[in-house]
């Protein structure tokens, strides 16, 4: 059965090229072993199998089923008014391609998205055929991330959820007014409705499994979404407040932020940007990280006086400089959550500190060995010997100057968080 053929290469080029602006590539969130009759496993943290020349993780075969589309969204390369070559995979062709990539350890599985053919439901049905073939014909037990098409019916979303590990619906534009401006055929409801279906499906499946241990699991790795950054005038406060509201839903695992890259140059509704806003995107990931792992609230990171993130300092340091009264923190006494608030101390080193200090008071050289970045932390802590020169004596302005001097080089080649880890 060789449905993969010469034409596949060209389709791959077109349909992978059109899918690449979706940031998410995570294969994380679910651990599933294997029985001998199937092919594949999933591992909880996800596995990145390669990194492209832009430094992004390649974990899944991320691809569109087709780039035909009935919509005309301003920010999208596949909009119907664009004169690009259109093509589509057959279900078996794409399933076989996934399997062959998987067997060579190129990928963790498939990330299937699509342009909208005819109508949302028709598109979902075609996508379902691919994942069904993978799971039922090829007995594929690896990772499947499936996009839910905005506007698709509840029945089809629920069906898809039985095959997929993760589902996502992209918000793309952080405010409804701007979404309507750029994607006239969409509104927030067309995005939030499938999000609700996914959530309901997950909750029902969790209930079922309380009763029947072997009830099928529904989207075990939860859902995610993506927002485009810098295509509209939405502030970081709007973005992070929205993200924080999404994270309150039990099904939500990740919000991705994608610095806007102009793919359509002739649209006056969109800004002209020389380079994508990568620093801002990075700061948003850091802020997102603080909300998920450091117990920060969105309104601690951004507020009405500071609606946008500071591009010169990371949001944790930014918060610390606005709150000198919180410091210094005595690392030998303070509880874990308080230590986590110190700039330069991460989850790993905070845990090491709390475990070790009962054996004796920790000194700055010990902290350094444990991975504390003393260049930043020194202004905010007391340990065995350090204490004189904290942010209170030196003033936040001075510390800010000191730290940003040291950071200029680091900021120049700002790195995107390796975002697929640590869910």
């Amino acid at each position: 059965m060789h449905t993969v053929n010469e034409k596949t290469l060209e389709k791959l080029k077109i349909l992978a090229g059109a899918a690449k602006y979706d940031v998410s590539c995570a294969s994380s969130g679910t651990t599933r072993g294997n029985s001998r009759s199937q092919l594949g496993t999933t591992s909880g943290w996800g596995i990145c199998h390669s990194f492209t020349s832009d430094g992004r993780c390649v974990s899944l075969l991320k691809i569109l089923l087709t780039n035909h589309c009935i919509y005309d969204c301003a920010y999208c390369a596949n909009r119907r008014s664009n004169d690009v070559k259109r093509t589509a995979f057959t279900a078996d062709e794409l399933a076989q391609l996934t399997i062959e990539f998987y067997r060579r350890n190129y990928v963790e599985g498939l990330f299937l998205s699509s342009g909208v053919m005819r109508n949302p439901d028709y598109t979902m049905e075609q996508m379902l055929r691919v994942v069904k073939t993978l799971r039922e014909v090829y007995r594929f037990n690896g990772y499947i991330h499936m996009k839910s098409i905005p506007g698709a019916s509840r029945e089809l979303v629920v069906k898809a959820g039985m095959y997929a590990d993760r589902m996502s619906v992209n918000l793309e534009i952080p405010s409804e007014a701007n979404l309507k401006l750029l994607a006239p055929e969409k509104d927030f409801e067309s995005v939030f409705a499938p999000m609700r279906y996914i959530q309901q499906g997950m909750l029902e499946s969790a209930e079922d499994r309380k009763k029947f241990r072997h009830a099928p699991s529904f989207v075990p790795a939860g859902q995610s979404t993506q927002m485009i950054i810098g295509a509209t005038n939405d502030t970081d406060k709007q973005i992070l407040t929205l993200a924080s509201a999404l994270y309150k839903r039990p099904s939500f695992k990740r919000v991705y932020y994608s610095g806007y890259i102009p793919v359509n140059t002739n649209d006056s509704r969109l800004p002209v940007l020389a380079t994508p806003p990568l620093v801002r995107e990075n700061r948003l990931y850091q802020a997102d990280w603080l909300m998920r792992f450091y117990d920060f609230k969105a309104d601690e990171i951004v507020d009405d006086t500071h609606p946008d993130l500071d591009l010169d300092v990371d949001p944790k340091l930014g918060w610390a400089l606005r709150h000198p009264e919180f410091f210094p923190v005595d690392v030998n006494e303070a509880p874990y959550e308080i230590i986590l608030r110190v700039p330069g101390i991460g989850v790993k080193s905070a845990k090491l500190i709390v475990a070790s200090r009962k054996f004796g008071r920790l000194s700055s050289s010990q902290l350094k060995k444990m991975g504390v970045v003393m260049k930043r932390a020194q202004y905010f802590i007391v340990c065995r010997e350090l204490s004189m020169q904290t942010v209170n004596e030196l003033t936040p302005q001075y510390v800010r100057r000191k730290v940003t001097q040291k950071q200029t080089k680091a900021a120049a080649d700002l790195l995107q968080y390796s975002i697929d880890w640590g869910e």
Partner: protein, 255 residues
């Protein structure tokens, strides 16, 4: 300077501990027969590996170490770093001489170092799980050469075994000249002749050894890999940071 000579096995290190406590003599260095001896040795002891004694030491350690700390000790052993013997010896002494729970004292340099090395070895195993690239051969075996920094082959084998239960594979560590062969039922160690090894070191198998469609899938993968990079975000430094250059020679997409 006091020197212990041992047989370069994990049981051997445990036997060193037994000997040291029995004779109240503690080494400044632990070497195997093959290692070069340092100058100015005052005394040296040849430590016989005795499984009964090493078992007694391990049982004592098991009582004081959590499962995860026991695992870390094993990872340190697999690092094969020159400091391994003395680090483990020092660590075991501290664990034996202190109360239960000393493994959490990361203010202690040995305890912290054991954790650091264990992280590194785990990290290397993870890199291998990420960057193994199988090539399908004519006889249907999926072959992947690797060159691991630490001896992690045994750590990664279970992952590939459960992932591909119906797929025969060989993962071969060219740095240590041994590999594991999974025949869809069991795992066994394999060693190739030096001549064969030479040809694996040149990254790719010769075309006549590959299955008919192998090159085609490699081309598809390379095309995919090229296509999905976003040129406006070009950042080769970040790429190297996540995917160090030393792995590139066996990565299909980097050829």
């Amino acid at each position: 300077m006091t020197l212990f000579i041992y047989d370069h096995t994990f049981d051997g290190i445990l036997s060193c501990i037994f000997y040291a406590y029995e004779h109240k003599t503690f080494p400044d260095a632990i070497l195997s027969d093959a290692d070069q001896r340092p100058l100015f040795i005052d005394e040296w002891h040849h430590i016989e590996t005795d499984e009964k004694k090493s078992q007694r030491v391990w049982t004592a350690l098991e009582r004081k170490l959590s499962k995860s700390a026991q695992n870390m000790v094993l990872l340190v052993w697999l690092s094969e770093l020159p400091e391994t013997e003395m680090l483990l010896f020092g660590y075991f002494r501290k664990i034996i001489d202190n109360q239960h729970g000393f493994e959490m004292n990361f203010g202690d340099s040995d305890v912290l170092r054991v954790k650091e090395i264990a992280w590194k070895v785990n990290g290397e195993a993870e890199k291998i799980r990420q960057f193994v690239r199988f090539q399908k051969t004519k006889d249907g075996i999926f072959f992947a050469p690797i060159s691991a920094q630490y001896n992690v082959l045994a750590l990664v084998a279970p992952h590939f075994r459960s992932r591909y239960p119906d797929q025969p594979w060989i993962i071969y560590d060219t740095a240590r000249n041994f590999g594991l062969y999974y025949d869809t039922h069991s795992l066994q160690e394999v060693t190739f002749s030096l001549q064969d090894l030479k040809s694996f070191k040149s990254r790719k198998l010769e075309n006549e050894k590959l299955s008919e469609t192998e090159i085609y899938y490699q081309d598809l993968w390379k095309e995919y890999f090229e296509t999905i990079a976003i040129k406006e975000r070009f950042n080769p430094k970040l790429q190297r940071q996540h995917m160090p250059k030393r792995f590139w020679k066996y990565l299909t997409e980097m050829q």
